[in-house]
């Protein structure tokens, strides 16, 4: 695989275990370059673990994780460090530094990873804030921002180094409808205009389906299904249907496995 390959990220036969518990069992996932791919699934299905495998924070128990033509488990520490500069992550919480103003939050990766002079750091910070519509908030502190604004500042920081791959971890959680609409538009704009490969990990079905070019549904250690949002909406697979239609019970049971309720309440202990 080369960097010119049509897939920016490929997981081949990946298994991952925590102790004896399998999180993924021999999964294959391919993320097309320059597109928005949604990774969906119920809470606790391993979506964040998947992101950590792609970011090489975790090593698979088995299998290969290729990012831009390099197999991550085989890279040295310094090669991994370089590789991570090609990836931006928008964390679920936004994760802004609360003691730094908006300017310094966005400037942070530029100061850590580059030797650019101050005037160029300023240009790039203002360019990124302009892109997310928050240049006017440059002097504010994070606690002066709304939840949606914090997420957008975090996005400006995530694109500060012009990553080729941008990972969004549950970007829509806790956002009001307007802020969600703004984020959806920004994800699409950054992907289309800058050719970024976007990975949106989310359980917010409507928003993710509205921007994703391609979707994976993961759960129960497997890839349950994949396809365009429309294909998955019309899937015959009962597990996919349950997830896409949002019904509480189905092949994925509402109840976590538990002991007999009557015995739990009335005795037997």
């Amino acid at each position: 695989m080369s960097a010119g390959n049509e897939y920016a990220v490929e997981l081949k036969g990946v298994s991952f275990k925590r102790g004896d518990r399998a999180i993924f069992n021999d999964i294959d996932i391919r993320l097309p370059r320059g597109k928005v791919t949604g990774i969906m699934g119920p809470s606790g299905c391993g979506k964040t673990t998947l992101l950590r495998l792609i970011g090489a924070e975790l090593k698979p128990s088995q299998g290969e994780v290729w990012v831009n033509g390099q197999n991550l488990p085989q890279l040295s520490r310094s090669e991994l460090f370089d590789m991570r500069k090609q990836m931006g992550v928008l964390f679920q919480s936004g994760a802004l530094f609360t003691d730094l103003d908006v300017f310094e939050n966005v400037a942070f990766p530029l100061r850590v990873h580059t030797k650019l002079p101050e005037e160029m750091i300023r240009d790039i910070v203002l360019m990124k804030l302009q892109a997310v519509g928050l240049r006017g908030a440059v002097d504010l502190m994070p606690d002066e921002l709304s939840g949606g604004m914090k997420r957008r500042v975090a996005l400006a920081r995530a694109i500060a180094l012009d990553p080729q791959i941008l990972i969004y971890d549950e970007p829509f959680v806790g956002q009001d409808p307007i802020a969600m609409g703004v984020l959806v538009r920004l994800i699409r704009l950054l992907t289309d205009a800058l050719g970024i490969t976007s990975i949106v990990v989310s359980h917010d079905l409507a928003e993710t389906a509205s921007i994703a070019d391609y979707l994976y549904v993961v759960g129960d250690t497997q890839v349950l299904g994949q396809g365009t949002p429309e294909e998955l909406m019309n899937s015959d697979n009962p597990r996919i249907r349950q997830f896409m239609k949002g019904t509480p019970d189905g092949p994925v049971p509402f109840h976590f496995p538990a002991a007999n309720y009557r015995e739990d309440l009335l005795g037997g202990r």
Partner: protein
């Protein structure tokens, strides 16, 4: 190791070329400043036709050269902005600010 450069090909005509990124940016910034200061021309043109690839650093370089020209009382124009720089300029709202030649 020079991945990018700026040279004065003819009086007032500066050729920007190579890969404009975080590694090459600081040196090109300094070279461009020196060339603009030394040039006798009242109008300078930055020709970007030789740019192979550019990140936001490429746009910042153009902005930095615009500030230099302004301080020196010179006129600056930008020629042959490549597509990737144009896309970043579009997303960052710079298309109306850069002195692009028609």
């Amino acid at each position: 190791m020079s991945r990018a450069s700026i040279v004065e090909q003819a009086p007032g005509l500066l050729l920007l070329s190579g890969e404009l990124d975080y590694r090459s940016g600081p040196q090109v910034r300094e070279d461009g400043r020196r060339l603009l200061q030394a040039s006798a021309a009242a109008t300078c043109v930055i020709d970007c036709a030789g740019v192979l690839r550019a990140s936001s650093v490429g746009l910042s370089l153009l902005l930095a050269f615009m500030r230099d020209a302004q301080a020196l009382g010179k006129t600056l124009e930008v020629r042959a902005l490549p597509e990737d720089m144009r896309q970043i300029a579009g997303v960052s709202g710079l298309l109306e600010i850069l002195p692009l030649q028609a």
